[in-house]
């Protein structure tokens, strides 16, 4: 009996702790790993996040005839680990503090970033997003920049030429 009274006292001391949740907001602390969102302005479509994403919530697809690259984020698969945030070179993808994902249509869970792709100057095949090219252009030396305008195959050919010139 005594112990029961103790518990009663404890309960009364604690008071009511539950919230009327959907009607009262629940605040989350600093650095809470909520749902990720891609900053369309910053994203360069490099696809680093796609590579690291454990549950394949992020995926990339290249639409050749439209000449665009899409980075697709599907929150339905996301586990909020934040690896994408770690690897993103331009801090385009960030984890927000939102966590309420419930929705009536799954389409609300998709975020698609569509980026125009640069065409190769030689073969004219789209090979990377323009932004990616610009980004890389920032940190390569001047004389190599022309190579950035080529797709990988052509680039290798051309660079091979350069090498032969050098020998010659």
């Amino acid at each position: 009996m005594g112990s029961r009274l103790h518990i009663l006292k404890e309960a009364l001391r604690t008071g009511v702790v539950t919230k009327k949740y959907p009607f009262e907001p629940i605040e989350v602390p600093e650095g809470f790993r909520g749902k990720p969102s891609i900053d369309v302005e910053k994203c360069i479509g490099c696809g680093a996040c796609v590579n690291v994403c454990p549950p394949n919530a992020l995926s990339a697809e290249v639409d050749l005839n439209k000449g665009v690259k899409r980075i697709i984020l599907f929150l339905g698969r996301c586990i909020f680990c934040g690896r994408c945030q770690d690897v993103c070179p331009t801090e385009a993808i960030k984890l927000t503090r939102e966590f309420e994902l419930s929705t009536l249509t799954t389409n609300d869970l998709y975020q698609v970033v569509e980026l125009k792709m640069a065409k190769c100057e030689i073969c004219g095949k789209p090979y990377a997003t323009i932004r990616q090219v610009m980004f890389t252009a920032k940190n390569v030396s001047k004389d190599q920049r022309p190579l950035l305008l080529l797709c990988s195959e052509c680039r290798s050919k051309v660079s091979a030429k350069y090498v032969s010139y050098a020998r010659w």
Partner: protein, 297 residues
């Protein structure tokens, strides 16, 4: 004739407030568990929702499974007509204690038969627990009743109410004991063994759903309020003016239910054999009380 009208009014009032009292209990229980509880009318909302839903019948089930909730409900309502509630007027010209006991007993009998007819093994286990508890609690009730009868030399409610005026030891103790038995009868923890949720999935009610479940739950609330009423009127002195009863009765009933829920909140569930042992320990106590009453102390 006007008695009948009064009685019907009483019963109707009880039918309305029984779930509300349960709502109050839930609210208080929540508060004692550091929760915001549901609104007081929540029980009513639940009932209405259940009444709207169709109920599911198992393939194994027979007619008894379908009709027993209705019979239980009828039993309970009729039992309510036998006791005075908001006014002292009741069908007391044949309001008889034994009938009351038998109505309570038969409600649990029908509950057992109905739930076993569902063909579910958990229901069968629950029903068995139910029967065992009911049988033993009948013994206790009979003993208390015998004490009352020896005190008041009567078996009719209107002469039994209230017990107290002979301020004897036995009278007071017997009322307390009856309160305990009522507690056991009203499926409150630690005695909600027939419908132990984690052990045997709501045992006796497992197969009942929708409408029939609603009716069953409703009749459980009615049973509780019936027991509360009896306790209240065992104490409520006859001297108080008739105009005060409509206020005093619900107030005291709610007070009683609050005390019960406070006890319930801080109890775990007993095992069936432990519960039976506990009830058996009450028997000698009751016998002693009966003997004391015999020598009217």
């Amino acid at each position: 004739m006007e008695n009948i009208v009064f009685v019907l009014a009483n019963v109707a009032a009880l039918l309305i407030i029984a779930p509300i009292i349960d709502g109050i209990e839930r609210k208080i229980k929540a508060k004692l568990q550091c929760r915001k509880g549901p609104p007081i009318l929540q029980t009513w909302y639940d009932l209405v929702k259940l009444f709207k839903r169709p109920s599911i019948v198992t393939e194994e089930s027979s007619l008894a499974y379908i009709i027993s909730p209705y019979i239980i409900f009828a039993n309970m309502v009729f039992a309510l007509a036998l006791v005075p509630s908001f006014t002292r007027i009741s069908l007391s010209f044949f309001g008889d204690v034994i009938v009351l006991i038998y109505l309570i007993a038969s409600s649990s009998i029908f509950l057992a038969i109905g739930s076993i007819s569902s063909g579910n093994v958990f229901a069968t286990i629950g029903a068995n627990r139910e029967i065992s508890l009911a049988a033993l609690s009948k013994l206790l009730m009979a003993l208390v009743l015998a004490t009352f009868a020896t005190l008041k030399r009567s078996l009719t409610l209107e002469t039994l109410f209230p017990i107290i005026p002979p301020y004897t030891l036995s009278a007071i103790v017997s009322i307390i004991l009856f309160a305990i038995i009522a507690y056991i009868e009203s499926y409150k923890l630690p005695f909600d063994i027939p419908e132990a949720e984690p052990e045997i999935i709501d045992g006796i009610l497992v197969e009942y759903s929708g409408r029939s479940l609603g009716i069953l739950k409703y009749s459980i609330y009615l049973k509780r309020i019936l027991l509360f009423t009896i306790i209240v009127y065992l104490i409520l002195p006859r001297e108080i003016p008739t105009l005060l009863t409509p206020i005093l009765y619900p107030a005291s009933t709610i007070a009683l239910s609050v005390t019960y829920v406070c006890i319930e909140t801080y109890c775990g569930r007993l095992r069936i054999d432990q519960a039976l042992k506990f009830m058996k320990t009450l028997v000698p106590v009751l016998l002693v009380v009966l003997i004391i009453a015999y020598f009217n102390y």
